[in-house]
Symmetry: C4
Subunit: 234 residues, 4 copies
């Protein structure tokens, strides 16, 4: 049996997003990549969370998506995950859920502006919303095209996915990611919390603007990069 | 003792809707039909959930509503359930709750538009709202007339109840159903979740329109029908 | 030791409102009356719920409020409870909480209209909001005057407290009551649930009107009075 | 080992704010002061709550902030806490969280008006919102300047921090405090509850005004000061 650590990490992340209240029924999946081994692992499609064991995780080649290990059919969203790993080289974990408030922004087709330091601690600016997919993109390779529109969004808006580790997909739901799979889980939690607060902040102050760049920089950079001083020294 | 499996399934569904947070006090009931045996089973009226056992379920004839088995008085909503089984031949489970957000749409007398893929996965379009009952319908056979207005709504709007397995009753609350009783429970959960997200999506974007037909088809049909590819192959 | 059953019932009700999520910190109290014995019992003031035993309940004369049994100081809201028992002869249990949505209507100084059958099952019409107390009423016997403004509200609006077993106090919070202390707890739960749904129903449909009288009558009277047919026959 | 009681109290408060649902991830910290010993204790920075023991708490001099005891790096918000203890002499406990509704008012840059007696029981008037920090205040000693803007807010508005034991920091989140660390925790809970109710009260009644001074005085003073009559006599 190979890729044991990766499969355990991916299972733990799938259970963590349920535990964090981000998942209804089976709407959610987490994956992880092992760049050195050239593979990703993801949960199987439509299997109840309480029945999952590490060996149910499906391992695929990062290069071409061929299944390397695992008997089950992988999550139907696998082509989206694969495309993100192939195009966002700094990420090693991806979480997709239909968490309530992230999904509400997705349904309303609105980006999530940074209204406070909670958001700024994990996302260095606005969490973008993709454009809606065109009819032919939906009828064609839908899940692959979902990945493509995320990459397009970050390239068009010149956003580094390492600094803004998440997106909302128009009419669909959020994706979050991170340099590790645990960071991806954390970013999915923060995206949901920031979305819920943003919704109510806008209700309380409909003219609310994003926080100034200097405060955004301060909070993101006190946790990330060479000048970070939050937490215990490593 | 006959109909044991049906009674166990119905009890399990009644407990599942409580567990899912859809039920306040005793506002909720689930029933199941055994078409081959010509019967339905439903929980008794106004009995606390924690005291129910399978043999408390009341079994009635699908043809005429006569009690076949069981000593308790059936749920006061039984005539509604019976009428739905008699007119919607594809359904074998029905769930009625006063779940908060489904009930809010019912009270506001508004249908629940499909604003995203979460809704589209289980409901192939708008979840309709019935017209209000007339005074004589309320004063007459109220619960039967409740069933009749649901059937009328689906016939008038030309909606197939197999594709849109739920409704909100004006000034009252939601009903959901399914091809099995477990599917009915799942659809009741999705209706509530979709309703809560729709309310807030409208708050965030008051001009929001339903998703395009092509996306609706994609999500519903990847889970239902001959082209389905979600979940593990059977 | 006398009044044991009353004290046990009152303790159980005080714990039930905590269990139902209606109480923050120590904002909540339940009382019960024994009309034959001429007494009421209420929880002591400001004592944490987890430390209460039946003998901590304070028993007072319904006639003059003199303490009959108990060493602790009774709830500071005792004069309100006493005045309601003295003036609403059909009630034998009272629950006061700062439950979130009932309190929101109180703060907004708005009555809670009957927008659906959930409300109608327990409250036969609008749950009224009192007028604000005048400065001298606040500076004088505040808690007694709180009881007086409730009684005034029901007399002025010609509402029978047996049919509408609750009120919201302007700028304060709800009171609910019932023919038994368990009914009072149930009515406090329904008031809160109806208030939360009313708030969101109004957000979804700002022009929403109360349900028609015929539907209100149908739902209230199928649970109350000689024609009731909900639940098991007695 | 010294300061054991202080460290135990501070740990208990840090766990209590998690238990009360005020903390997401590691966004929250509680501290306590021992004025006689001239020290404060605070939790370490970025350590998961479930791993904390009393000896992880960091003890610092109230005079100059030098670490007196403890091996970990203290919370990055320590300079804010220290400045508040140095300037608000009546307080001996401070709680900072990103609790949802307090943070929403902070993000919307709005003060929390007193809309009812729940708020008035613990806060004798409006909970103020600070001005935004200037760019140089953010780029300079950010956490110290956060403390300074709180002190400035209370001095400019002539509010006694003993009577209004909390604040929301523009674009950031709430701080609450108290004469003891347990009171600080209680005030953090009340601030959050009052904020959630205020948001919805404003939605229900957009023209809502703060309660009159006489009602504010009545509720605050029946719990605080020489005329208090709430709770058991001491």
């Amino acid at each position: 049996m190979s890729h044991q650590k990766l499969k355990q990490d991916v299972l733990r992340a799938n259970l963590a997003i349920v535990q964090a209240g981000l998942v209804k029924l089976t709407w959610g999946n987490a994956s992880g990549a092992d760049r050195a081994a050239g593979v990703m692992a993801i949960k199987p499609s439509g299997v109840p969370y309480e029945k999952l064991s590490p060996d149910d995780m499906v391992v695929l080649s990062l290069k071409d998506g061929q299944i390397v290990e695992g008997k089950a059919r992988p999550s139907s969203d696998t082509p989206t995950h694969l495309h993100l790993y192939q195009n966002f080289e700094s990420i090693n974990g991806i979480v997709h859920t239909h968490s309530m408030y992230g999904t509400i922004f997705a349904q309303a087709m609105r980006e999530i502006p940074c209204f406070g330091t909670t958001h700024a601690d994990n996302f260095h600016g606005t969490i973008p919303c993709t454009r809606p997919l065109a009819a032919e993109e939906i009828q064609g390779e839908y899940e692959l095209n979902t990945g493509k529109v995320v990459v397009e969004t970050f390239r068009t808006k010149k956003i580094d996915p390492a600094n803004v580790p998440g997106v909302v997909l128009a009419s669909h739901a959020p994706f979050a990611w991170g340099s590790t799979i645990d960071k991806a889980v954390e970013n999915a939690i923060v995206l949901e919390f920031a979305a819920e607060m943003a919704l109510h902040s806008l209700a309380l102050n409909p003219n609310l603007r994003a926080i100034p760049q200097v405060l955004l920089d301060k909070h993101f950079l006190r946790k990330h990069g060479p000048g970070a001083y939050y937490g215990q020294s490593k």
